[in-house]
């Protein structure tokens, strides 16, 4: 489970970096450094989301793939069985899905 939470923490941090850069670029559309940072983090996020989906469950609808999504007992109530994976994993608003808050030291809100 440590792996799952560590990966989720990385996805949260990379995604937040993109959230912050997106708003900044909305009002600074010619900032090349910010654009380069956006592309770099966007590639990283795609890679992390795919890894998470392969090992655990899909976090986005684009990652839903019943053939390749993780299907161990910790991910689903249908382990090893082909099934619709979108409902796998913890509920996002429950404590179980947010254990990374404890290990994260948690990302700051930006500036």
């Amino acid at each position: 489970m440590a792996d799952r939470n560590a990966l989720l923490k990385q996805i949260g941090e990379t995604s937040f970096t993109l959230d912050e850069l997106r708003l900044y670029l909305d009002t600074h559309p010619l900032d090349e450094n910010a654009m380069a940072a956006y592309s770099e983090h966007a590639a990283r996020r795609r890679q992390l989301l795919q890894e998470y989906a392969d090992r655990f469950e899909p976090l986005t609808c684009g990652c839903i793939c019943p053939e390749t999504n993780g299907s161990s007992e910790t991910c689903t109530k249908y382990p090893g069985q082909k099934h619709w994976t979108w409902a796998d994993g913890p509920i996002p608003w429950d404590t179980e899905a947010n254990v990374c808050a404890k290990t994260a030291g948690a990302a700051k809100g930006g500036n």
Binding site: P92, A97, N111
Partner: protein, 203 residues
């Protein structure tokens, strides 16, 4: 078009049940300066916004506010999910419990139900963006008020994150207002309504 991502923007992990705290934080769900009002305000204003970059910013901030709405609801949910009948009698939460049990329902901390008047969509780019600047500061003040009376570090961590986002959004809206003014007559920004008298707005 929107799609859902199965995670919170910032993790919420609260283990101590506290209906009293939930009854205060609920203002940032359904109160006048809460996240629902913020999201719907920006997403309503964007359609008639004359500058498409500013319409884009309103979309992106309005979308982030939906993620904040979800975080605030997660905080309230986790503070009340293991409620005992005795805890349901907590002053400040008891009346809410009678009407909604432990479900989420948008209301201000003082008991006023959510009201669409909070959207503040006026149809004038200068007016609306000035409103948005004030809205971000009002939300920041509300988070400051909450942080002054709440001690649980599991609750204050996500509240601090949300407070900081208000400051960032204020900054971006300030830049958006300048962008709008760049397209207006510098001698008198208020001579025309840029959303209505479009023929006078520079291309």
């Amino acid at each position: 078009m929107w799609t859902y991502e199965k995670r919170l923007q910032f993790p919420v992990h609260i283990t101590r049940t506290c209906p009293r705290t939930a009854s205060l934080i609920i203002s940032q769900f359904g109160g006048p300066d809460g996240e629902m009002a913020a999201s719907m305000r920006y997403l309503s204003q964007r359609y008639s916004m004359p500058c498409k970059e500013v319409g884009g910013l309103l979309t992106d901030i309005g979308t982030e506010e939906l993620a904040h709405l979800e975080m605030v609801c997660a905080i309230i949910y986790q503070l009340t999910k293991n409620l005992t009948p005795e805890q349901a009698k907590t002053a400040g939460f008891d009346a809410y419990y009678i009407d909604h049990t432990a479900a989420l329902w948008p209301t201000a901390a003082a008991g006023v139900p959510f009201n669409a008047c909070e959207f503040q969509s006026k149809g004038d780019a200068v007016t609306d963006l000035t409103e948005d600047l004030a809205a971000e500061q009002k939300a920041r003040t509300t988070y400051d008020n909450l942080l002054r009376v709440i001690d649980d570090p599991d609750v204050t961590a996500p509240l601090r994150f949300l407070r900081q986002r208000e400051v960032v959004h204020f900054q971006r809206f300030g830049e958006a207002l300048e962008k709008i003014k760049d397209n207006l007559d510098a001698k008198n920004f208020y001579y025309y309504n840029p959303e209505f008298d479009k023929q006078f707005v520079k291309a």
